[in-house]
Symmetry: C2
Subunit: 472 residues, 2 copies
Amino acid sequence: MFISTLLCVLLANTVSGLENGLARTPPMGWLSWERFRCNTDCKNDPDNCISDRLFRKMADLVVSEGYAAAGYKYINIDDCWLEKERNFAGQLVADRERFPYGIKDLSNYIHSKGLKFGIYEDYGNYTCAGYPGILGHLEKDAQTFASWDVDYVKLDGCYSHPAEMDLGYPEFGYYLNRTGRPMVYSCSWPVYQIYAGIVPNFKSIIDSCNLWRNFDDIQDSWASLESIIDYYGNNQDAIVPNAGPGHFNDPDMLIVGNFGLSYEQSKTQFALWAILAAPLLMSVDLRTIRPEYKAILQNRKIIAVDQDPLGIQGRRIYKHRGIEIWARPITPVVQGYFSYAIAFLNRRTDGTPSDIAVTLRELGLINSGGYQVEDLYENVSYGVLSPSTKIKVKVNPSGVVILRANVNADPRSTVRFGQYSTPTTLRPTDNLLTFQTFVPQSTARLPIAQPTRLPALTSTRTHFNPFLPIQL
Amino acid sequence: MFISTLLCVLLANTVSGLENGLARTPPMGWLSWERFRCNTDCKNDPDNCISDRLFRKMADLVVSEGYAAAGYKYINIDDCWLEKERNFAGQLVADRERFPYGIKDLSNYIHSKGLKFGIYEDYGNYTCAGYPGILGHLEKDAQTFASWDVDYVKLDGCYSHPAEMDLGYPEFGYYLNRTGRPMVYSCSWPVYQIYAGIVPNFKSIIDSCNLWRNFDDIQDSWASLESIIDYYGNNQDAIVPNAGPGHFNDPDMLIVGNFGLSYEQSKTQFALWAILAAPLLMSVDLRTIRPEYKAILQNRKIIAVDQDPLGIQGRRIYKHRGIEIWARPITPVVQGYFSYAIAFLNRRTDGTPSDIAVTLRELGLINSGGYQVEDLYENVSYGVLSPSTKIKVKVNPSGVVILRANVNADPRSTVRFGQYSTPTTLRPTDNLLTFQTFVPQSTARLPIAQPTRLPALTSTRTHFNPFLPIQL
């Protein structure tokens, strides 16, 4: 049995992997977990419990509130949708009270709205919340999902041996593929292995999964978001090359519009997720989200960065004194020069905006024909700027400025498309860029107790001025 | 010289301290530091630099936008208003470019709006940003401030010996008093001593200062706000008794409406500051603040808690699993029973609201006549509830619910006012209350890898349900 399974896996990997034609760009949709968790108390909290009603309502709103038109199409159930026991035939059954019409009926409803339907399971004996896992039922459960017209499967990794995932995740992917129904396959495989001290085999993960989680679940806080941003920046040399059309890193859900992020921080998450070529899975109550947060989630120009067809994940190219710059190569590519999305982050907490001044050349934008530069939140175009142009952006504390710089055809050259090569000045390592940032000083005011009777100030002392004037 | 100074201080303390009749309730107003810092670049950033123009504009808005009517009256300059050198007569001079009309003219303008005017200095050789401190000029500078009709002086402690503050702060307070002009005296004395390992003499601080800082400067982040909340909770036995009419602890500025706090977190700061009997000093750009944050700052019912005439600072009476309850005794006091403001905090980040269920009696509200209970953000009255009533509040992640419970006259007794005694069930120590909180489970989902082939679930296993039903 084990050997035959192994053979199947090897065969599957050799022949096709999970090249299922899906997720050519990062999936976009809605996922219940971060906001609604495992709330199963439909008696006392009927509007917020994990239930048929919740997902139909969110599907309705994804369409009626314009999210679908902006690109969001998956409506995904997370944990806590199951009965605690399989049925007499060993099949998974949705909770009969909370999903009284069954999953197929819900799936039909979601499809009737022009959307796609996703579901959650776990490779182990149980899901993380203690519902039946798929172990021992891989083929049957894949068939069940296909019979329900599932379009997306998130497979968690609680209650399983991380070492067994190298076989188990590909095996389930094989069964998913064999159903003949294309289903996005989202794996928690590497994160469980990393926590267990196992170095993930990303070659195999890429071959088997459309998406995979590398790091912690996101929580409803800026601290959690910062930890994810740091993880993806600090480990980018190992992580970034794995991303591409059909296979993307998943830094977890968007928490824009919930309780823990400020408006600036919400803009930061959305911009960074676009730089990271991340799935855009909203986990928010679409009934109550405020309009300014909805506008972030529906920012077409930032979505276009996320959905760029090259599928190249961006990198952190600068990090110093709380200022970070992230860059992602995107289309159009002209004469071998990429266009770029550039995100300037201010991780400082000192109350007042920081100015960042840098030339395009220092950012790695060296096409002599220049770049059409646009601010994607402010929706302002700066026209065509040459590589020697110094730009200055003012970034709010815990906020972001995200620019798109479309490479401009050099008027002195013939335009040829399709030569892909990363400009050598786009350094993958931190702190190699030479430009300076200008941030407020004198912020750590306590304690600065010093001996009294210091020498008097003299006229040669530099005048205190934290805001050096920078000319564009 | 030193001995004569010492005598003056001792004399001043013996005779009157700084019982200047001010700050009978915590001062309310606007202060520049947290939001505008030491931005002196009026050439490139004229709208945001520390200048005459900024303070006049904020004074205008405090009146025109309704803040003054809500109780905010001080317009306070922080650091970076000075020239780097005193004038020929040894007097402090405001920066001649940024305050071209001088401080007296600005003070007149602010007074003409019906507001009061505050200024900043430092006990040491220099202010924290390197401008002239008052050391060696205490009497002269007090006279200068009085001549400018200053109403409030914040005295920082950079570039001084913390051990000398025990004499220096009272000495300057003495000179302030001797001018004959009442000026609120805000001291940084204890925080510098605490950082230097000195145990502050709070008896002397109370006698000398209207306000004093115990802990770090606030920064524009939830993490900073949480650290302050924790400091005041963890050290409440030492801190709370020092507060009273005329002398209050100062946990630092309100950062509501800036970049780092979400809406929920902003409500949390404002509610907690009211519980703490804290000065309400907004540090925000009143030109751009969004209406929902303005509404927080102008919440009349929460301001009334902050400004309660008893001036008793509240305490953290419960802290467990991320849930905190804070209570502040307030008026009316009936038959020896206090009324209370009660704040329920949810420090959890697990995405979905937590329910807290508790009887009034467990909160220390034991008056048999009951309490008129009102939710101060929702602006909903719950009528008169008896001590045995179990209330349930739903608190958003990083959010707050704040109730006011006005003691109701026991219909079986004669109403007598003025008997002040803390109910013995209001325990000052954490975690002694016996009620339970109900919060989502299964949130730390990664990593929970377990050995495979766990025993099958049996029917005796407790059904997973993080939301136990609670009846009011």
